[in-house]
């Protein structure tokens, strides 16, 4: 049996969805409540690191390859830079908040901590940075755990 004991695996499978939901909540509400892309991404990545610790890095590496994580991280970085350049195209300067002012997608100007449909490109940048931090930190943990694992060992 790969990984740690059955007790730890059961506890991780109970705690992992809650951790993922909490981290994604922090990312999605980054423009309303304390937190943001970096913080929520760190929460999600630590939840996935819990998966690596309990189930073993070989088990995890069989399912999630590091090059896919690298692609996800590059996607997040391209999203962030692309939003900045879209501000240059549709607005007038780099990092312009060009979505602010329309009434459909994140365009409203928030009054009070209630409306999620506010703040222009800030939620989208939060998503991009969150994806980048999730993939980056999880790739670091997974690659370091896999490189130090013994052949035929448990972890």
């Amino acid at each position: 049996m790969m990984g740690m004991s059955k007790i730890v695996k059961t506890m991780v499978s109970v705690a992992l969805p809650l951790t993922l939901i909490y981290g994604l909540y922090i990312i999605a509400h980054g423009h309303l409540t304390p937190g943001g892309g970096f913080q929520g991404g760190a929460v999600v990545a630590s939840g996935l690191a819990m998966l690596v610790v309990s189930y073993g890095s070989v088990w995890t590496m069989d399912r999630i390859k590091e090059k896919h994580l690298s692609s996800l991280e590059s996607l997040g970085a391209f999203g962030f830079i692309g939003l900045a350049f879209l501000g240059l195209i549709f607005g007038s300067w780099f990092f312009n908040n060009f979505l602010l002012g329309n009434e459909y997608l994140f365009g409203m100007i928030g009054e009070g901590a209630s409306n999620i449909n506010t703040a222009g490109v800030i939620p989208l940048m939060n998503f991009a940075v969150g994806l980048k931090v999730i993939a980056g930190l999880f790739a670091i943990v997974l690659v370091m755990a896999y490189a130090t694992s013994k052949k035929g060992g448990d972890l």
Partner: protein, 90 residues
């Protein structure tokens, strides 16, 4: 006592004296000398960026370049770690 212990004791005494003097003459909490920029951001962050969270509005809107550098640092760190710790093909 050997010389290392005496040197460490002297060093820590000097550092402790500096820290105690720094704590005694510390600036009063919540009363910065230059607060024009903080007050501007606190007053205008909701109407200018639309975000309720002032920290996120600073990080992603007012100071976007800083976040770009931060993301570049993270990207470089991940690339370096994957470069060092990957399994080489035989």
């Amino acid at each position: 006592m050997d010389k290392r212990t005496i040197a460490a004791a002297v060093f820590f005494s000097i550092v402790a004296v500096f820290l105690i003097f720094g704590a005694l003459f510390m600036h009063p909490f919540g009363d910065p000398t230059e607060d024009d920029m903080d007050q501007y951001i606190i007053d205008n962050t909701q109407s200018q960026t639309g975000a309720d969270n002032g920290v996120t509005s600073v990080v992603f809107d007012y100071r976007g370049f800083d976040t770009l550098g931060e993301a570049t640092v993270l990207f470089t760190a991940v690339a370096g770690v994957i470069l060092i710790f990957r399994r080489l093909k035989k």
